[in-house]
Symmetry: D3
Subunit: 246 residues, 6 copies
């Protein structure tokens, strides 16, 4: 089988991460996964949401958006429509939940880290690229807090990265681009830690179903892809930061 962009079934796209892409954010990265490009910024604020007031814990949350021409045809802005769509809400809840799974919120202290993931070009896998990039932006911001003496130890227990897998023409493939994603019978987003544990699995067959064997093949591919992404995160973050984790 030939994939639409010539890749092998188990091959991820070229990934680039430009750190400190934004001069204001406490941490930031431009992540490029093939033609998918997401600006991830991490903002640290010395306050927590109302439901955490006074509990001595911090919070990690995320927001996600696309610029109108991130997509092939222009998408109407959610600000213009006056409300967030269901897809946006699902994605930003997913990003926040995933990052929280590796953060020790007590050790973070009463502060909030907000990860903004703004997709400036979308070619499939924007939510998984957002998670992979947001993790890096968050680490850069937390490292800055360490350097400023506001944190004594890094409150992060593990690495985290994400990719998509799917059944395309009956074959399990890794890291779907938009053309593949549109044609996939089954689409699964997998989020995993550096120690190989699952954080979240979302497998869905819009007009199809999948067997347990197929699921196992997809998870094998995803695991390999995510390990590759975590190696890249380590490279980008450098040894000093990478060694603080865990």
């Amino acid at each position: 089988m030939e994939r639409v962009d010539g890749r092998k079934p188990g091959q991820i796209r070229t990934v680039n991460m430009t750190t400190d892409y934004n001069k204001y954010a406490e941490g930031s990265v431009l992540i490029e996964v093939g033609d998918t490009r997401v600006i991830c910024t991490a903002t640290v604020e010395e306050r927590v949401p109302p439901f955490l007031k006074g509990l001595g814990k911090g919070w990690v949350t995320a927001e996600y958006a696309m610029i109108p021409r991130a997509t092939g045809t222009r998408t109407i802005r959610e600000a213009a429509r006056g409300k967030l769509g269901g897809r946006t809400m699902e994605i930003q809840r997913l990003i926040g939940r995933s990052l929280r799974s590796v953060v020790d919120l007590e050790a973070l202290g009463e502060r909030t880290v907000t990860l903004d993931c703004d997709v400036i070009q979308a070619d499939g896998g924007t939510r998984t690229a957002s998670i992979t990039g947001a993790y890096v932006a968050m680490m850069l911001a937390l490292n800055k807090l360490m350097e400023q003496g506001m944190l004594k130890e890094m409150p992060v227990k593990d690495f985290i990265a994400a990719t998509s897998v799917g059944m395309v023409n009956g074959v399990p493939v890794l890291d779907l681009c938009y053309a593949e994603d549109s044609a996939a019978e089954v689409d699964m987003n997998v989020i995993m830690t550096g120690t190989g544990r699952f954080v979240e699995i979302q497998g869905t067959g819009e007009e199809a179903t999948f067997s347990r064997d197929e699921m196992n093949s997809l998870l094998d591919l995803a695991t390999a892809g995510i390990m590759e992404l975590i190696s890249l995160q380590k490279e980008v973050l450098g040894d000093k930061i990478s060694n603080m984790i865990g």
Copy 2:
């Protein structure tokens, strides 16, 4: 291990389905899963959403809501807040997507089936109870279309039901009630067909992660539970309707 309500790890709660609960809807059921109660109604309309106009296909969609005191403390109405929350959107998208996976939209013809799932009491598992009940309501509505001669054959390929599984105190358990759901380290919603294929898997660990072995145990439990639910659906729908499926 003793579960909070005395059940065994692999035991589902008592399930009741009262069909034709509503006198206006084309199909309706009150589903009770333990203390969780959801009114599911199916509405058939001879129109399709704009993106399907003229394509000769139908549509299946869902909406989900809770009355304010479905929950232990009063929840503010989304109508009063002026917008749907992220959780509501995620759930109603999930219900619609799941049902569409077993419907032949071409065979349905240019009409829309809307499943309204209104939770009148919530004790865990409201989204999975909604899917299990909505399937029954949809079948009753489609059977009415068959009887009226508006459909030549039943446009449904398989049964579908859903349940939750999770790791509670390190033990995999089936069909979590609210108390268990709040305490679970990992929570997974599984939606499956009568032929044992997955429609959707959503596994998540808010402040935890899970291994592949744990995932396999959870899927075993879920499969058994869903098969039990599908037996109940067959009983409630009767042989005549059940035999039309597939």
Copy 3:
């Protein structure tokens, strides 16, 4: 004259009230007036709205909604439309105002009782059924406060119930079902206390007018119907609670 469902002009429909229908609410009832069914729950919260802060008074308020297939054709959810309609606002203001007329807000203390009236099937008279049912739910909730020692005396001065009357084909009739309501020339909602005093009268002729004599006939019918409803409330609440009122 024969009414559409065989009743006599001055006859109300069969009324059932199932108390403690909801396991979470401080008070709850499922009221059925013919085919009209409303779930009424009373929530007690130890806070008051901003305009009453520090005045030593409590508040009683209400919200009203219908599930989409409460009606013959599916009604779009107000949460989906992003705002409450004028009819909903009118009704919920009416329910709250009516109940407040018999409550001693000083004696209630700085707490709020919220009555949620969720119509699960509508066949005319949903607002009056809501008032009749909400009164019962409120009494059950206040009785619970008495039992818990949070109230020394019952802060309610009188019973309250409501019904509709109208001119249908030139004849005054009591407790209109939907078919009659649609055909009525004049429609009047009457809310009355156990001692026979009016709380609210709303008479309206959308495309008609009515004479003072017709109004008097309608009020006679309404008075008789409401007295019957109040007898049923007393039965459902039991002597112990009923005797605390006044």
Copy 4:
């Protein structure tokens, strides 16, 4: 008993109606009832709302608003709050419904008359002043359609005017100013035709109730007040227009 502004219980305030107050509207009037001032404009558009399309009938509808300093303390604009309040919706529905009761919508033809009632100073009775003024604005606009040959006959069957009555310190009084309205135990808005038939009665006791005898006294006062208002409408509209009605 002395009323706050020296009037007798059955005396209405000074009423002024300045016709053609606005140079663009098809009909317009500035109505002043004591210190209450409302600009009423009637707009005629050659279209009907969707639910009337193709039925050969017209529509009459109303909108109501107050400028922020119409009131003693500044009221936040509903446009700034992003939604209409419950009170506004109730009032504009009431105005529209009342006017429709005397209009022959078939004779009006497929057009819409919109009555905008903008309160520029409020001193009690703004909804009843709006109805009394909107009727005059509507008649002026319909007369213009007659003069332009767009209507063959006046599609209005009767006059209509409105006033408030209430129990203040136990005494029934007519046409309450704001100070009286705030102190009233019972407040009733009455809308009546030139032939003495009721269009709408809305009697309410926020924290009180009223007997049938009290209601009868209030209706006697209201009837007298409305007849006086209708005389003033006839004067302002002139014989030519007044004689077309009925």
Copy 5:
């Protein structure tokens, strides 16, 4: 060249200002510039917006609206549409900003003056008439604070008024009415102080451009017109108030 209403290029329309037009507002004026009529009210509240809390400074802000038939065809209410349009926001920001330029916010103290400009008839120049009128309403309100001893000195440094100028058929003209405004190639709003300094200049050519010479001619006309308007403000405010300024 003949202007549409017979005026000379440099001639402003007849201006009337009726002070104390509203009985509740701390300051109010009905300003009429030709057929343009705006009710301006000034409300003084003893609070400041959150961003000024505790800074010992006051605030001046404005809101702007039009009644639906202020215009030739009916404009939909922004409250009904659920949001303010871009034009409204631009105008109310402009009015507030302009007035603040001559107010000493420290001297005003921790209070807010809100200027509501409600256009009841629009014939061009509503934003400039609003500014000219709002200034007068503000001065009347501040004078009341002086009389009540709440202000020791008038916290206003200068007069301020505004007018529009534009190129119509290639000729620079002053104070455009609606017919001219619609036909103008260039439209410029100029806001100026009593000492002849600019507060704001907004020149725009929707489908045209303008040279620097043209701009200079327009500014000459505007300066003359504004000086005339400020003379009228002085007359209306009287010597006592006028002499406090500066």
Copy 6:
């Protein structure tokens, strides 16, 4: 005088324009003016807004947004707040209006060009950078229409670019960065064509005023700066496209 970044009063910041920055848009550019960075995309759609239907004319419109960390502290997303702010509306109206002033809408034909200006880093002058960049994106999109034979001639009459000028510490300076903008007594945005004619001038003194002499100095600076920007546009667009204009 030393400027905060060492520039001379009449010196603009370094400007970079990366064309075809986005792979989907018909025209796109990343414009960098100092540290201000804006992604401008031009979308061509074969439809016009309702008010232009059937008139044989096209439309040019713009939208503007900032990502949350475009700014020093995180700005809440307008999509999350549910509505566009006044500043955003003002800016996007300004961009659209400015571009339309040099486009021959008849020659454009019944199509819409939408310019999306998404600020990914803001350091002053985002609206003027948006206009300068949007012009380039629009030209690239129109050139594509020319190449595809959908346009016979370039429907653009002139170049257009924009910059800001202001009085900082009493000195007129060109192209203000954020630190200067915050400290400026007077801020003026100037939009000008390649032939030196004004399209729009917006001069404002929030808490200050300015003389006519000061305004003239500011306009001199702006004119020089804009001519420099237009030279850069020509370079980026190349001779082929540049020569089609006029």
